[in-house]
């Protein structure tokens, strides 16, 4: 009833909805991604064939067309990579003065900028994200991470007052498929700045830009073995995590796999940082600037097809404005352009894999079955490739699966609240604690909410903002350790 009254009262201005009447002209990004037909492992500064000679196919999720063959690294390859990293650490990278290490990182940052468009196209082809995001977010942010950490390399003594800091040696890193190159930058830049050498395993469906990064390392003249990239599947990642030479491991991915890693390392003294899943609450108070909030909600959940661990997937709206917000969201949903990731007008690209599309479909079915009210954009989807309509569920309750489980797709669940206390209670009622959003016109309310929310990152009147200087990471089952800022760098240092 309140919802109905609210929407009657506001009486939105009439708008012109053209639907499919006039189609946009195609606006494909045409820069060459400069891809090879086959990618080998990057070990000790060279591209080498996997010892068992096995390769797997990587496809474009937007078209389902094969892009290249990717080396399937095995335990022997991981062993070779770890040994190369250890040798580089003891002979070159460890003894090198911080100033010199920093200059390599600056070079890498510059080279990423030089090759930005080529990398952006490769990233979009391999992962399905819209070119405007890989071009305007992933690539600039990856380069920024190397720039930021380059400057730290000769300033480590300022990190921990009164204590000595030292690198761990060889760090094993396993990264996800949602921001392939950016997650690589988040992992490699601080590790190298602190003086570690790395063995990194990219996600199975998105190895291309990581292996292309090997070419950047060569171009930068980075000493062999400092960075090693071993592509492969879950077993390859497990070999990296469990290798006796990796004295610290860093993982970004699902909470389920994070727990597996914790168990597999239980009998060791390895240091760990884990950045895991989330089910973030995006909280809209009645005094929020609603136009801005609606854009923030859309960005919070549909950025990168919702393949974001900190996605604002639980929208909590104060009851008095819930009808208004729902009406505006439905209108905004209809204007999102879903389709060819390489098209510069595309807002929502392809779902990363058939498997992920299956998971999203299954959870959305559960949402309907449990009685939530579904609203979907009526847009046309391309005939080939993995796509999912941006979806909004209203009338969701806390017990629904779509309010509890990480969907990792373009699916928003909307709940309501009456008081600040109820919002906090609902927001914190989850095993996760990665991020949260707060929308209000009142600064003191922002600070109060930030204090009460059990989350590692709180965005106020914005969402999905990142910066190399800003620590990112979770509470509770969203993992531990931080990435970015001095706090993130500390996690790559032994403090003596």
């Amino acid at each position: 009833m309140i919802m109905a009254r609210a929407s009657n009262k506001t009486n939105p201005a009439r708008e012109l909805v053209f639907g499919d009447l006039w189609e946009y002209d195609a606006a494909p990004e045409t820069a060459a991604p400069k891809l090879k037909k086959r990618y080998d492992l990057f070990i000790n500064g060279q591209f080498v064939a996997p010892k068992k000679g096995k390769y797997f196919t990587t496809i474009n999720p937007g078209t389902e067309v094969k892009i290249a063959d990717i080396a399937l690294g095995g335990a022997a390859d991981v062993d070779a990579a770890c040994k190369a990293a250890q040798k580089a650490f003891t002979t070159v990278w460890g003894p090198m003065p911080g100033k010199e290490r920093g200059k390599y990182l600056y070079r890498i940052a510059r080279l990423l900028q030089d090759h930005a468009r080529e990398f952006a196209v490769a990233e979009t082809m391999d992962g399905g994200k819209p070119i405007k995001e890989s071009r305007d977010f992933d690539l600039p942010m990856a380069a920024a991470h190397f720039f930021y950490h380059a400057g730290w390399a000769d300033k480590l003594p300022y990190l921990a007052a009164g204590r000595q800091v030292a690198p761990y040696g060889v760090v094993g890193q396993v990264i996800p498929w949602n921001f392939p190159l950016l997650m690589l930058a988040w992992k490699i830049a601080p590790a190298l700045a602190a003086g570690n050498c790395v063995v990194l395993k990219p996600a199975e469906t998105t190895s291309l830009t990581a292996l292309k990064f090997g070419e950047i390392c060569q171009e930068a003249g980075l000493p062999p073995g400092v960075v090693n990239i071993v592509s492969g599947a879950g077993e390859t990642g497990a070999a990296v995590i469990n290798h006796p030479l990796t004295s610290k491991v860093a993982f970004t991915g699902s909470t389920e796999v994070g727990k597996l890693i914790m168990r597999s390392l239980a009998g060791t003294e390895k240091k760990m940082t884990l950045e895991l899943g989330g089910k973030a609450a995006n909280i809209v108070f009645e005094d929020a600037p609603l136009d801005q909030a609606v854009e923030g909600i859309i960005n919070g959940i549909f950025f990168n097809q919702g393949h974001v661990c900190c996605a604002g997937s639980r929208l909590l709206v104060q009851e008095s404005v819930a009808g208004e917000v729902l009406a505006r969201l439905k209108r905004r949903l209809a204007t999102l352009r879903v389709g060819d990731p390489l098209d510069k007008n595309t807002d929502i690209g392809a779902i990363n894999s058939k498997e992920q599309l299956g998971k999203i479909t299954e959870l959305v079915k559960a949402g309907v079955a449990e009685g939530a009210e579904m609203h979907q954009s009526a847009c046309q989807l391309p005939a080939k490739g993995f796509y999912f309509r941006p979806t909004l569920f209203a009338k969701v309750s806390m017990s629904h699966r779509i309010a509890r489980e990480e969907i990792f797709g373009p699916v928003l669940s909307m709940l309501t609240f009456r008081t600040l206390e109820e919002a906090v209670e609902k927001a914190n009622n989850t095993p996760y604690g990665l991020s949260a959003g707060v929308w209000t016109d009142k600064g003191s309310k922002i600070l109060k909410m930030s204090t009460l929310l059990k989350a590692g990152v709180v965005w106020a009147n914005t969402y999905n903002k990142f910066d190399p200087a800003s620590p990112f990471g979770g509470y509770k089952e969203s993992g531990f350790g931080r990435e970015g800022g001095k706090q993130g760098l500390m996690d790559y240092c032994k403090v003596g």
Binding site: A144, A160, A161, G162, R163, T255, G258, K259, L260, M262, R263, L265, A266, G267, L274, L276, P431, G443, I446, L447, S450, A455, G456, V457, V458, W459, A460, N461, T462, K465, D467, A469, S470, P471, F472, G473, Y475, K476, E477, S478, G479, F480, R482, G485, K486, Q487, M490, V495, G496
Partner: protein
């Protein structure tokens, strides 16, 4: 005239600000180093541990909300309470067979450690937090928060100093603690409870249990309301604690009980110990338009 019959003390555990026996009714015999009976000490059960976690959960929000200055005052008061009973505490340590001089040294080191952390309460945030210069119109800052309830497992060695060294960094930042005392020398923890009770530390902030480590480790490992484990235990127990921790992505910070740990060293105290038991929260606050 016959000699006066002395009043023997029944050692009790300090939980939720009260002195309790084990809910199980069980005790174990504590003997001095010569093998003579000293007292029956509570053999706490896993249920006692769960009760202690509940007590800590009640005390937690209030303790975390105290001002940093107030927490510092209270920790300093704890040091005062031990200092005033140094001889008693030394006697408790001598039950384990150490000399008077060694016992006094340990008590003094424990008092010094508490004073050290009393001074940290209103300073660590300035060292661990930060204002982050992001490339957008946001005031971006990182502050720390206590994790909640910390499970502490003290080693057999250094039954007072090690216990205090594990508890203090946790409560300095506003965490609460449920601690299991040294299994072979639990009596110093019993006395510590009596001293905490007359300090200004709110009941439930520190809860001290006595009993068998092997029996308690599985519950410490898997209790989901313990958000971190800090302790010095053997290899098998470290593995068990880490396996259990995986169930709820619990934070774990462990020393090797089988190797000599120099608890007196300055390296065993300070900012790093505090950092291990706090969470970092980063807020993006808009800076006007």
């Amino acid at each position: 005239m016959s000699a006066r019959l002395t009043i023997t003390k029944t050692p009790k555990c300090y939980v939720g600000g009260a002195f309790i026996r084990s809910e199980s009714g069980r005790v174990f015999e504590l003997k001095d180093h010569k093998g003579e009976f000293f007292a029956n000490v509570p053999l706490c059960s896993r249920k006692d541990l769960r009760n202690a976690v509940e007590a800590a959960a009640k005390a937690g929000p209030g303790w975390a909300k105290r001002t940093a200055f107030n927490r510092g005052q209270i920790l300093y008061r704890v040091a005062e309470m031990i200092e005033s009973r140094v001889e008693d505490m030394a006697g408790a340590l001598m039950l384990g067979g150490v000399t008077k001089a060694a016992a006094m040294k340990e008590v003094v080191a424990a008092v010094e450690r508490i004073v050290h952390y009393a001074g940290w309460t209103d300073k660590y945030e300035a060292m661990l937090g930060s204002v982050n210069p992001v490339a957008s119109a946001h005031f971006n800052f990182t502050v720390t928060e206590p994790m909640g309830i910390i499970g502490v497992l003290a080693p057999d060695e250094r039954p007072l100093l090690a216990l205090v060294s594990l508890i203090l960094p946790a409560i300095t930042s506003g965490n609460c603690v449920v601690a299991l005392a040294s299994e072979t020398q639990p009596y110093p923890a019993i006395l510590l409870g009596e001293m905490l009770a007359v300090s200004d530390l709110p009941g439930g902030v520190v809860n001290l249990l006595t009993g068998k480590r092997a029996e308690m480790v599985p519950t410490f490992a898997t209790h989901e309301h313990l958000r971190a484990i800090s302790g010095a235990v053997n290899a098998e127990q470290r593995k068990a604690l880490r396996l259990g921790a995986a169930e709820s992505v619990k934070r774990v910070r462990l020393w090797k009980a089988e190797e000599a740990v120099d608890w007196e060293s300055d390296a065993m105290e300070g900012l790093e110990e505090i950092r291990a038991l706090v969470e970092c929260k980063t807020t993006w606050h808009p800076v006007g338009g």
